[in-house]
């Protein structure tokens, strides 16, 4: 039990410091966002296993089941929002702010 906490703590500490100093020293690296995502996901796994003990559940695995369902909904909310809003931004890009305003007003006058 104690051993597990110490391992989890050491791993989390290492992952946090690696992520921090990588970013501070290479702010412009093109792969940085991906690297940070992978490091955060690794730390998620470490803490779920070593701190929240998601792996030693017995009987019907309600915690794991609800966790994966939550993860599905979470991905739909986050990825869906980013996708739709960026797509919308891109479609409106060739307008200047005044044109954008005008376009929205004419669309509004057409009714729904």
């Amino acid at each position: 039990m104690m051993q597990k906490y110490i391992t989890g703590f050491a791993l989390s500490l290492a992952l946090t410091l690696v992520a921090y100093f990588l970013v501070i020293n290479n702010e412009t690296h093109p792969w940085m966002l991906v690297v940070l995502g992978v490091l955060a996901a690794t730390q998620l796994a470490v803490q779920l296993l070593y701190f929240l003990h998601l792996d030693d559940e017995v009987g019907p695995r309600l915690k794991q089941l609800s966790f994966w369902f939550m993860a599905l909904i979470l991905l739909i909310i986050v990825v869906g929002s980013i996708w739709i809003m960026n797509n919308l931004n891109e479609r409106m890009m060739h307008f200047s702010p005044t044109e954008k305003n005008q376009y929205m007003l004419t669309e509004y006058d057409k009714g729904f």
């Binding site: 946090t16 966002l33 490091l39 009987g59 309600l62 915690k63 966790f67 929002s81």
Partner: protein
């Protein structure tokens, strides 16, 4: 305590902890919507400062390490619970409280500084999303500190009972969960915010 009541307490604990876990999962979805909002609005700075102009990275790293350590000391308190070691439980909780309060102090002083410089939540959509997400996590930490102090005082006065064991186990879940959310605040808001 006889064997029967030990088993009974264990099954009660596993049932209540599943219920509490379900609450944590819904709380995750609350944070998911705030993260999605932040991700969409992070470049909507309305001529105001972007993330990299206002973040104090060394302080943010300090906050992260403090919260991580408090998660660890909370784990130590939970281990003390398993061996009915009252001293270890109380010292573990005290360390967790001090570290949690230090985290909150750094966060609030950052907020006060930003608002004083005119970069409050009303300045841009980015700052609204920033304050909502980071502030929501801070609010959770604050509630956690209240819960923690009530539990620690009760254990100090009454010793480790079955009921307090269950409650403290749930608090442990909550506190580890807050640390996990912070890892993502740290990564998505701060680290990804200074990538050019």
């Amino acid at each position: 305590m006889n064997n029967e009541s030990v088993t009974e307490n264990k099954s009660l604990l596993s049932r209540t902890s599943v219920g509490f876990w379900l609450y944590l999962m819904t709380d995750c979805l609350l944070f998911a919507t705030l993260f999605a909002t932040f991700a969409v609005l992070r470049d909507a700075t309305a001529g105001g400062p972007a993330g990299r102009d206002i973040y104090e990275m060394p302080l943010v790293l300090a906050e992260t390490l403090i919260l991580l350590t408090s998660s660890f000391t909370c784990g130590l308190a939970l281990i003390g619970l398993a061996t009915k070691n009252k001293r270890q439980v109380l010292y573990g909780l005290l360390a967790t409280f001090v570290l949690g309060a230090a985290f909150l102090f750094i966060e609030v002083s950052e907020f006060v500084k930003l608002i004083g410089e005119g970069h409050g939540p009303q300045a841009s959509a980015f700052l609204s999303a920033f304050f909502a997400l980071v502030g929501m996590h801070g609010l959770h930490v604050f509630v956690g500190l209240l819960w923690l102090s009530v539990l620690a005082l009760t254990i100090w006065r009454r010793g480790i009972t079955d009921k307090l064991t269950r409650q403290l186990t749930l608090f442990g879940l909550f506190w580890h969960f807050l640390d996990l959310i912070w890892i993502f605040v740290f990564t998505v808001v701060y680290l990804m915010g200074i990538v050019k």
